[in-house]
């Protein structure tokens, strides 16, 4: 079986991450319960007229995929696999409210078309003129991991050489409003640095697009090797640590060999306990978190994947993501763990190249 590498990365997030030469050198501090992305200059990548027509999710996805492709040095790609929890949710909102407000009259198709979950993947294929394999996964907090799993399988078996994968989700006003009603969004505005100790229910909602070129051939730009990945629809809190050790064992690696544990903590007092349980087995390991920087969304873990890739390549860990301080000097193996509201868990193992 082939090894699988991350050959390039791209991130559009609530931090200044779209420039690959930087690595969280300057942190954008928010005091909010919803944080939108810092927009790159979309016109550098898409003609202005086209950009105006595109939904935010499409724009973020297309630009992130172009940045990733550029860095990989490729002109074309064999396949495109997208993960998105909600798709272009603003257009879904627009179309539903128009149906209700106008009693099914005067509707136009644009928002219906853009609300289709695979519209981002389809638009990227159009932009890149890629007629290859094209899938879209829409499974909550395992949407991005499903895309990763699919790409990894194809590259291992040599079915394709270079695959573009990504996670993308956008903030929708109505969706956020109703999620505040059920306390999935924090009731209070909170400072970025305080999210981790919030002790309140709900998360700070966010959005973003993180895209990657995966390949079964290493090259100069390579960030890391993807060693293993496993997803779970359910996993009781009491079994998280046990399952993590099983996962490491299956991949012939000891807990002591993990140099960094990247966790999906979002400051929700009711569900961060899953991470606490896991860290009990990693007390001597450097730990990091990231959702205070990018916000919580169905594909937020793709930002964690971006972070880990960057750490392995640069061998540095930004202060803003440190959960503890172990003075780890070199990073060889990174374990990522994510879940959302106790469902759809994933372990991802990355290795320095």
């Amino acid at each position: 079986m082939n090894k699988v590498y991350i050959n390039s990365i791209a991130s559009i997030s609530a931090q200044k991450t779209f420039d690959n030469s930087l690595f969280l050198t300057e942190i954008e501090n928010y005091e909010a319960n919803v944080i939108p992305v810092i927009n790159p200059n979309y016109k550098d990548y898409i003609p202005p007229a086209a950009a105006r027509r595109m939904a935010k999710g499409i724009k973020m996805g297309v630009v992130a995929s172009k940045i990733a492709l550029q860095e990989s040095g490729l002109d074309t790609i064999d396949a495109i696999i997208t993960g998105t929890g909600m798709g272009c949710v603003r257009d879904s909102e627009k179309f539903v409210s128009a149906i209700i407000d106008n009693d099914e009259q005067y509707l136009t198709p644009t928002s219906f078309i853009q609300s289709t979950h695979n519209t981002v993947g389809g638009q990227i294929a159009l932009e890149l003129q890629c007629k290859g394999y094209n899938f879209t996964y829409v499974h909550a907090s395992n949407s991005f991991e499903s895309a990763l799993l699919d790409a990894k399988l194809q590259l291992e078996l040599d079915e394709e050489k270079n695959i573009l994968i990504g996670g993308v989700d956008e903030i929708g006003e109505h969706t956020t409003k109703i999620h505040k009603l059920v306390n999935h969004v924090k009731a209070e505005a909170i400072k970025t640095s305080d999210v981790i100790n919030a002790q309140t229910p709900g998360a700070v909602f966010g959005e973003g697009a993180n895209f990657f070129v995966l390949s079964n051939e290493k090259q100069a730009s390579t960030y890391a090797e993807i060693t293993a990945l496993k997803t779970y629809n359910t996993l009781p809190e009491t079994e998280v640590l046990h399952e993590a050790s099983n996962f490491l064992k299956e991949n012939n690696i000891n807990i002591e060999d993990i140099d960094l544990l990247v966790l999906g903590n979002n400051g929700d007092v009711d569900f961060d306990t899953f991470y606490t349980k896991l860290t009990e087995g990693f007390i001597n390991t450097q730990q990091a978190y990231y959702k205070h920087l990018c916000g919580e969304f169905n594909t937020a873990s793709s930002f964690g994947f971006w972070l880990a890739s960057k750490v392995l390549k640069t061998q540095t860990l930004p202060e803003a993501v440190k959960l503890n301080n172990k003075d780890t000097a070199s990073f060889k193996n990174i374990l990522l763990y994510n879940q959302y509201r106790g469902e759809n868990h994933s372990f991802t193992l990355l290795k320095q190249c």
Binding site: L107, K131, T136, Y137, V138, A140, L235
Partner: protein, 400 residues
């Protein structure tokens, strides 16, 4: 690694039947499930026809034994019914005896409840339970829970009208590569005002019975349905002495990269998908005995698909027909519905008639199968195409 990908169980609920047997009876007797919409209040009631399932949500909840505080969308209800049938049909009593995953497909997800309670959420607390039921993964999580699948690979695919074909494709690849021993694959979509109005704005809904591959076709009828299949590895089939209904022999996925909602005139994506599926199966075009076409009865699809079929099969186009005239276009579920129809065709050596056809299309001279036909079948090709240029083909066969 597993050489074969065996289908050992099937479950379905559609406008032409509440289980596999009922669906087959309707197919061979030419019984359509198309009518005026009755369960959704829409201004378009007299402008469109749909393939609607008879049961109300309450009846479906009762069949599943759900209490009144449940938050199942109709998509989840239909999916759970079909998936449970498939498990029963496969004779599975202990789901966790083998590494079992679930891959579902949906495009509507919980939109039926979202559009019903969209503004009510802001004022009526009793409706809040449906907020988390909106996202596409929710119905899949519920189906997994209904089947008792825990701590396993469960995911959802949404590639518009090709979704379920892709779920079957991924499932087959996971079995072949040895990642799973068993996987339940399929799709589910209910009717909604959202899709009715969406397709209406695109002006591709027929105001009468849909007529696939007919020169005067006026568009599609939307349908609702759910269908799931159990795929098992050679190991499980041997150890459990399973009866194999058919095999997933080949599959191909490609993107038309032409237009967000329209297929290219020459069906580039469709041609590529069929080509790839033949390659994976190790088949030549002449190995295909019947093509269950996507055949939505839109002007664009049937022309593009027809041309792609001619590009693949040349002068020897096998018997082909679309079953959309029976069920309507069931969107993300269509690939799984038609997978089951393909397997039933193989089991019974039967080709279904393409209903409602009257006039030959001008652009080419291929004609769908118009009468029920008995013929020994070895392999069947099933096409599913969708928005976003997504094109998928799966080949089902009697041989491993």
């Amino acid at each position: 690694m597993s050489k074969g990908v065996a289908i050992t169980g099937m479950g379905i609920i559609s406008a032409i039947g509440n289980n596999v047997v009922e669906n087959y009876q309707s197919l061979i007797h030419g019984k359509k499930g198309i009518s005026r919409v009755s369960k959704i209040k829409t201004n378009h009631v007299n402008d469109i026809m749909v393939g609607e399932i008879d049961f109300t949500n309450e009846a479906l909840e009762q069949q599943l034994g759900l209490t009144s505080d449940n938050n199942y969308s109709r998509t989840a209800l239909l999916g759970a019914i079909a998936a449970k049938q498939a498990i029963k049909d496969s004779g599975i009593t202990n789901i966790n005896a083998y590494k079992t995953g679930l891959i579902s497909a949906t495009s509507v997800g919980g939109m039926d409840m979202t559009e019903r309670y969209y503004y009510d959420y802001l004022t009526n607390k009793a409706t809040h339970k449906y907020i988390e039921g909106h996202h596409a993964g929710d119905s899949t999580q519920k189906i997994a829970a209904q089947l008792g699948i825990e701590k396993s690979l469960v995911t959802t695919i949404s590639t518009a009208c090709s979704s379920a074909a892709n779920a079957i494709m991924l499932g087959a690849r996971l079995i072949k590569s040895g990642q799973l021993d068993r996987v339940v694959v399929g799709g589910t979509d209910c009717l909604s005002k959202f899709t009715i109005n969406g397709f209406k704005t695109l002006m591709i809904l027929s105001d009468t019975y849909n007529t696939p591959f007919d020169e005067n076709r006026k568009g599609l009828n939307l349908g609702e349905a759910a269908a799931f299949l159990v795929l098992e590895s050679d190991k499980v089939v041997q150890e459990e002495n399973k009866k194999v209904l058919a095999y997933v022999k080949g599959y191909g996925n490609a993107n038309d990269a032409y237009h967000q909602t329209a297929s290219s005139e020459n069906g580039d994506g469709a041609t590529l998908a069929m080509q790839k599926a033949l390659e994976v199966a190790g088949y030549k075009p002449e190995n295909i005995d019947y093509v269950n076409a996507h055949g939505t009865a839109t002007g664009n699809n049937d022309l593009s698909e027809g041309r792609a079929i001619i590009r693949i099969f040349g002068d020897n186009v096998p018997d082909f027909s679309s079953t959309k005239a029976y069920t309507g276009h069931t969107l993300a579920a269509a690939g799984a519905i038609e997978a089951i129809y393909s397997v039933l065709a193989l089991q019974n050596n039967i080709i279904y008639p393409n209903l409602n056809f009257k006039t030959q299309m001008k652009e080419f001279n291929i004609t769908p199968q118009l009468e029920l036909k008995e013929k020994p079948l070895q392999s069947v090709m099933s096409n599913s195409f969708g928005f976003g240029g997504n094109c998928s083909t799966v080949i089902y066969s009697k041989e491993q």
